[in-house]
């Protein structure tokens, strides 16, 4: 049967009206204030203490509810650490699970909605989760004081045990029910840092056991329900394309295929299992309408971006008169950079399970922006957001991919569920699975970017002017976030790390061009810093060498006003033995960058293989992310951030030919592998400052550190990425 989609259901995007007001966040972050119906879980049983962020059960277990998705960054363990410390729980009684979707209770305090991203999880929760632990502790003490008829001040709490000098003692579980009847104290006192028992130590992750035993139901991909159908979709092969018609006769004949449903985003093949659905999709014949699609090649798009940077753009940042300074400079260094589209390619491709009964819908997935996901699903299904339940599951990576301003994968699942019901079917669990090909070809890439930089030096090699133009598609423009974060046409995420650099640069001008393409773009681990740090740090290296100065010393001079950035640079240089002789064939490069309010310096040591490709042997790093809640996890995130950035810089790029993505799987989008991984040494600066980001800040410096090491060997800085384009990888 040939199907024509005459009236596709409008694709859903979150309505701007749903974001009621905007106020400045406490930490300068985005605060989208909105309220949704629904209330936190209330105490259901008499023998537990049920609070929004933790449940203490009669068996003594302390279940911490993580309002944030943990996609590998150790967030859940981090939040549990904060609770456990103030509660004085024993580590082995602490467990963690994900909170339900409820923005009122579980909003990210920097965002004003429930969501994880921007390396904010610990930063926005630090006070809140400690307070939750302290509150529960006070209620347990109050209950024990009553039960034992002793003053509360005489009760001590340690490792999950309440005790009194009279000899009375009780575990948390024994006192939980009584504690639930106690009033919730307004402001239970918090410990001072010297009293911390878990914060600042490296207690083991709470998810390691399930992740080393193949435990069932951990990830979205692993959800199984009786009578569940699995769907895979044939989506348009060009961005902006739509389904014109499809012939599903052969697909319907595939064993196990139950139904075929046309959706605005593609044609869904529903089957009894994943393999049958994939087979069914292979048998589909779909004609796409490319009249509104992006038909250009990525080379053409790169050329357009380069041409844009030749012209003045929208002013993003400006101090002094850069043009006059450049005109009067003794020397001007100019460089053009080109960055490709990048796919996130998390190990777990996207997947989502939905059950819709006509009046409520439940989703199972590694949800990252639960509030937007709820609103988008509600809009598609004609429900209010409180009728949308989300079971957030551990995600097999994200790197930004699951944090969706348009929540397209929720919208698609909701549309499928609605279409399923509209056909007269009984409610059924439907799971949409993305294959790796769907993931790699699916868009939402780190945008392709071009930079043009002109730096003026005086006769002594000091920077007197800096003009920096950036061109690329904005991540924010056209999304629900636009009106809050885009000012005068400038999306800060396109230029972050440039205008607000801690370097003391006089006459610094930053301009931006917002390019247009139907290729959907998205934040990718460290967002704008993925390209701005590369340009800033390779240019500074080049300037230093042109001036005949040591690259570390030159940076130190520019960082006089930022002691924290200076400190990570100095410590890294010291630990890496900067300036000491290297073995033959080894070269060093340095980079330092502030992102997500954290400071990271990295010194890469490289060699070259016989075929001329670069081998990163070792990376020495120092990080200042405020109070180190879990030092070992900080190290893990820096290691991972370096690996993630290194893989991309070496050989990752998404290219398009006549609008179609050339790559499809890990045989063409080549991931970093074990043999690529350098030895990594991480040094953490002790700090009493409030904790800042750690999931992303390790990524920006690695590319420029390696590029600067290559330049130390060859005298040239790679400006056309990835390195594989220059035969270096």
């Amino acid at each position: 049967m040939l199907h024509h989609l005459t009236s596709p259901i409008a694709a859903a995007t979150p309505s701007r009206r749903t974001f009621l007001k905007l106020t400045a966040g406490a930490a300068g972050g985005l605060l989208l204030a909105l309220r949704l119906p629904g209330s936190p879980a209330k105490a259901a049983t008499g023998d537990s203490l049920v609070q929004p962020f933790l449940h203490i059960r009669a068996d003594g277990s302390v279940m911490v509810l993580s309002k944030h998705l943990d996609k590998g960054q150790g967030i859940a363990t981090g939040l549990a650490t904060l609770v456990a410390d103030e509660l004085d729980a024993a580590w082995d009684q602490v467990q963690v699970e994900f909170a339900p979707a409820n923005a009122e209770v579980y909003k990210n305090l920097f965002f004003g909605m429930q969501g994880t991203g921007g390396s904010t999880a610990i930063a926005n929760s630090f006070q809140q989760y400690r307070q939750a632990g302290a509150t529960a502790r006070a209620m347990l003490i109050a209950a024990a004081a009553k039960a034992w008829s002793v003053p509360a001040g005489e009760i001590t709490v340690s490792a999950g045990n309440l005790s009194h000098a009279s000899g009375k003692s009780a575990g948390f579980g024994e006192m939980a029910g009584l504690a639930s009847a106690e009033p919730v104290p307004a402001e239970a006192p918090l410990k001072t840092p010297d009293q911390w028992v878990y914060i600042g130590k490296s207690f083991p992750r709470l998810d390691t056991r399930s992740k080393t035993t193949g435990a069932a139901g951990v990830y979205g991909m692993d959800q199984r329900f009786d009578n569940m159908l699995v769907a895979v979709l044939a989506r348009p092969n060009r961005f902006g394309g739509t389904v014109a018609s499809f012939d599903d006769s052969a697909a319907r004949a595939v064993d196990g295929v139950s139904d075929i449903i046309g959706l605005p985003s593609g044609v869904a093949v529903l089957a009894k299992d994943t393999w049958s659905a994939m087979q069914g999709r292979d048998a589909l014949s779909v004609t796409f309408d490319d009249s509104a699609a992006e038909m250009r090649s990525s080379d053409e798009m790169a050329k357009e971006l380069a041409e844009l940077t030749a012209q003045p753009g929208l002013k993003a940042h400006g101090e002094g008169d850069a043009e006059a300074a450049l005109a009067g400079a003794a020397k001007v260094i100019e460089a053009d950079y080109s960055f490709p589209f990048l796919a996130h390619a998390p190990m777990e491709p996207l997947d989502i399970t939905v059950l819709f009964d006509g009046s409520t819908a439940t989703f199972w997935t590694g949800a990252q922006f639960q509030t937007i996901d709820q609103m988008v699903a509600a809009q598609v299904l004609g429900l209010t957001p409180d009728k949308i339940a989300i079971n957030t599951l551990w995600a097999g990576g994200s790197f930004g991919r699951r944090a969706q301003p348009d929540s397209h994968y929720f919208a698609e699942a909701a549309l499928l569920a609605k279409a399923w019901l509209d056909k007269g079917n009984a409610p059924r669990h439907l799971k949409i699975v993305w294959t790796r090909e769907d993931d790699i070809k699916g868009g939402y890439y780190r945008p392709m970017m071009a930079h043009k930089v002109r730096v003026g030096l005086d006769a002594e090699g000091r920077i007197v002017g800096w003009n920096h133009r950036v061109a690329g598609k904005s991540i924010m423009i056209g999304t629900a976030f636009e009106s809050f974060v885009v000012k005068n046409g400038v999306d800060e995420t396109s230029v972050e790390g440039l205008g607000n650099t801690p370097y003391a640069l006089e006459n610094l001008h930053v301009e931006v061009h917002n390019a247009k393409t139907a290729v959907p773009v998205l934040w990718w681990r460290s967002v704008g810093h993925t390209h701005t740090a590369y340009v800033m740090e390779t240019m500074l290296d080049r300037v230093a060498r042109e001036a005949g100065k040591d690259p570390v010393a030159y940076r130190e001079e520019l960082l006089k006003n930022d002691p924290r950035k200076l400190a990570v640079l100095k410590l890294t240089a010291e630990k890496a033995g900067w300036g000491t002789p290297l073995a033959e064939g080894r070269f060093r490069g340095v980079a330092v960058h502030k992102s997500f309010n954290s400071y990271v310096a990295e010194i890469a040591e490289i060699s070259f293989r016989d075929d001329g490709t670069v081998k990163v042997e070792k990376v020495v790093c120092a990080v200042d992310c405020g109070v180190p809640v879990n030092p070992d996890n900080i190290k893990a995130q820096i290691e991972g951030g370096i690996g993630y950035g290194l893989g991309a810089i070496l050989r990752n790029e998404i290219t398009l030919t006549a609008g179609e993505v050339d790559q499809s799987n890990f045989d063409s989008y080549l991931p970093l592998r074990l043999t690529d991984m350098p030895q990594i040494e991480v040094h953490i600066i002790p700090s009493t400052e409030a904790p800042t980001g750690i999931g992303e800040p390790g990524t920006p410096p690695i590319g420029p550190a390696v590029a600067n090491a290559i330049a130390a060997a060859r005298g040239e800085w790679v400006t056309n990425l990835p390195f594989s384009r220059s035969g270096l990888a």
Binding site: T208, G214, P349, G397, S398, R436, A636, E639, N665
Partner: protein, 153 residues
């Protein structure tokens, strides 16, 4: 068509198309979801299982290939090497997102079973096919060395 095999020590008869990848038999037919789907084309190793003790990619190993074979998955692997690997993985907190770790552990266990004291070169050869997008590679390497010590200990 009915295929007889041994799965995690248990005799099983599976009635399905012999051309079906074992990955989907394990995950969808039998509910053993510890074996992961990462790429479907034997490029990432997330679906690694043991077939008669040898690590194979279950996305490119078909049910028909397993007739009479002894299949072990992450849910069923029990050996001194597996115990040492798991203990080392736990001690060093190797996993981040964890999605690739079933495959990593299966590959590492096979390596340690064959080569109780692997060199870095042995690890390179055995583990380079297993992708970890969180880049836990440095800890994977350290954990294999640690597991080797534990086995010796």
């Amino acid at each position: 068509m009915a295929i007889s095999l041994t799965l995690n020590g248990e005799a099983r008869v599976i009635d399905a198309d012999p051309e079906t990848p074992l990955l989907w038999i394990l995950r969808d037919t039998l509910g053993l979801t510890g074996t992961k789907f990462g790429c479907g084309v034997a490029q990432c190793g997330a679906c690694t299982i043991h077939l008669d003790g040898t690590p194979v990619r279950s996305c490119q190993t078909f049910l028909g290939d397993a007739e009479g074979a002894n299949i072990t998955t992450i849910e069923g692997i029990e050996s001194p090497a597996a115990a040492a690997i798991r203990a080392a993985w736990t001690e060093l907190d190797v996993p981040q997102c964890g999605y690739c770790q079933s495959g990593q552990i299966m590959a590492a266990t096979a390596l340690l079973t064959e080569t109780p004291k692997p060199t870095d070169e042995d690890i390179d050869a055995a583990m380079d096919g297993n992708v970890c997008r969180c880049a836990t590679y440095a800890r994977i390497r350290s954990a294999i060395h640690l597991a080797a010590e534990k086995l010796e200990g």
